[in-house]
């Protein structure tokens, strides 16, 4: 579906003493967004430019992260949906399903952090 560009962690107060038995921060969401230029040259886009995929949607973590929900509902997949609905879907034959030759093609997943 997309490349994981960043992780959103639960709140960790900065510049304060943390009590010893505070639980460690947990990942609350995966973030994807326009990071190509910032990865190459430096800095990062503001949070409002990143699309969130909540951690609750994750089914499995491996070399790729598999999601438990339909990717159509994810904000991170919006460009794909847009091109499909407005360009490719309108060309005859765009939704034609070629006969599947094997069943083990990767589906519905996010690739790990690059």
């Amino acid at each position: 579906m997309a490349v994981v560009d960043d992780l959103e962690l639960s709140d960790v107060p900065v510049g304060q003493q943390i009590p010893i038995d505070t639980p460690p921060p947990v990942i609350t969401a995966l973030l994807s967004g326009p990071v190509l230029a910032t990865r190459i040259f430096g800095g990062r886009p503001p949070d409002s430019r990143m699309q969130r995929t909540p951690w609750a949607a994750v089914a499995e973590v491996g070399v790729v992260i598999k999601l438990a929900v339909d990717q159509d509902t994810r904000d991170a997949a919006w460009t794909e949906r847009w091109v499909r609905d407005n360009v490719i879907g309108r060309i005859p034959g765009g939704r034609h399903v070629p006969e599947q030759e094997q069943d083990d093609h990767p589906q519905n997943e996010e690739r790990g952090r690059s």
């Binding site: 990865r39 794909e80 490719i88 879907g89 060309i91 034959g93 939704r95 399903v97 093609h105 690059s114």
Partner: protein, 409 residues
């Protein structure tokens, strides 16, 4: 029969890589000017592409991911974007040239100007990418492209002096009336043509398209060991035909019709017709390979869903990108630029981009996280390292030679 078709991916990759319009003309040019004295470059190139295609095929079968996906993940976006930029430009130039090549071959058959064939050729390429199943595409393009065996048949029919050809093929034989720098320019060009990066990306993406798994490692090896040497042999046959017919007469090759002259002389109309069918299939196969490669590399780098195994609606950006590439190709060709010159230049730039492509593949193929127990053996690593040195040398020499020799004049 299934076994024979099982190696179709390797054959198509090799045909698209070694026997596209630019390579056919380059091989004929080399044969007409240098005889077979550059044959050793083809051999070196074939071994090199076998080594790296085998690695990338294994990576795709074991990890289930195509090479470019892993390059970004393992080496980071900076390295990957350099690689991507170079590869994409080469793909775009080559696909433009291949569409032109299909049009040129159709012009030979029909005497209709190739400019009029260009939109039809591009449309046909697009329809195959849009609708035709990957396996059908590779089987048809690969097997029909094998009609180019007509060149080998022609070489035998011409009854050449084999000892003379053998003498020319020995490395170190004199370069005749040609300058040494021109000799090495064509050596680099032939090497770049044999090891063009898109071959590896297409092969590994094709492996994922076909759904190869660890059980298919032997099949991957068979594809490599059958396809690429066959491509190399056919390249040598084209050069050989030119060496036998065109070299003694000092006929220079500037157009597709001169490439086919030896075949017409050897076998008459029937063999010529076979060759033309082969040329159309091979250039169409190359056009498909480069267009798909352009789509594969960008989609894999950016994490888009990709593949012909998906309906276009589920790989929308992938297909849109390829449509845009084809439109750019048509536009470029309609300006009247010579498609053959475009490939000859792009082959030299391939040589420059080689180190960026092959070093990451070597690194990924050695990574136990993706490959588990199937990492490279010592012998393979040793050979690959030697080739990296050769590749680096070719990459550094390519542009200076291009300038010094004025593109091989």
């Amino acid at each position: 029969m299934k076994r024979v078709l099982g190696v179709a991916l390797g054959i198509l990759t090799a045909i698209g890589g070694f026997l596209d319009i630019g390579d056919m003309v380059t091989n004929a040019v080399v044969g007409s000017r240098f005889g077979l004295s550059l044959a050793w470059v083809v051999v070196v190139g074939v071994i090199g592409i076998c080594v790296f295609a085998q690695m990338s095929g294994r990576v795709a079968a074991v990890s289930g991911r195509a090479t470019f996906e892993l390059i970004r993940e393992r080496l980071g976006p900076r390295v990957a974007v350099l690689n991507l930029g170079a590869s994409f430009m080469i793909n775009l130039m080559t696909l433009t040239a291949e569409i032109g090549g299909v049009a040129l071959a159709l012009q030979l058959v029909s005497s209709v100007s190739y400019l009029l064939w260009v939109p039809f050729a591009a449309l046909a390429v697009w329809l195959v990418i849009w609708r035709v199943k990957f396996s059908v595409m590779e089987n048809v393009a690969g097997l029909v492209g094998l009609c180019l065996i007509g060149f080998a048949v022609a070489l035998f029919l011409l009854n050449p002096d084999w000892s003379e050809l053998g003498r020319q093929a020995v490395p170190g034989a004199s370069t005749g009336t040609e300058k040494v720098s021109t000799y090495w320019f064509y050596a680099v060009a032939l090497f770049g043509a044999a090891m063009t990066p898109y071959e590896v990306f297409f092969f590994s993406s094709g492996a994922v398209e076909e759904g190869w798994t660890v059980k298919d490692l032997a099949r991957s090896r068979a594809n490599v060991l059958v396809g690429f040497p066959l491509g190399g042999l056919l390249s040598l046959a084209i050069a050989g035909c030119a060496a036998v017919v065109l070299l003694p007469q000092f006929i220079s090759v500037t157009a597709l019709s001169q490439v086919m002259l030896p075949v017409a002389m050897a076998g008459g109309k029937v063999l010529l017709a076979l060759i033309i069918v082969g040329i159309v299939a091979a250039t169409a196969g190359a056009a498909l390979e480069t267009t798909l490669s352009a789509g594969y590399t960008i989609a894999q780098f950016l994490g888009w869903p990709w593949g012909k195994f998906r309906p276009p609606a589920q790989a929308a950006r992938f297909h849109l990108l390829m449509i845009i590439c084809l439109i750019v190709g048509i536009g470029t060709l309609m300006t009247g630029v010579d498609p053959i010159q475009v490939t000859e230049i792009s082959v030299v730039f391939s040589a420059v981009a080689l180190p960026l492509t092959y070093l990451p593949i070597l690194i990924v193929a050695n990574d136990p996280e993706y490959m588990g127990e199937h990492v490279n053996g010592q012998a393979l690593n040793g050979t690959a390292l030697i080739y990296l040195v050769i590749i680096l040398a070719a990459a550094l020499a390519a542009i200076p030679l291009l300038i010094i020799t004025g593109a091989g004049r």
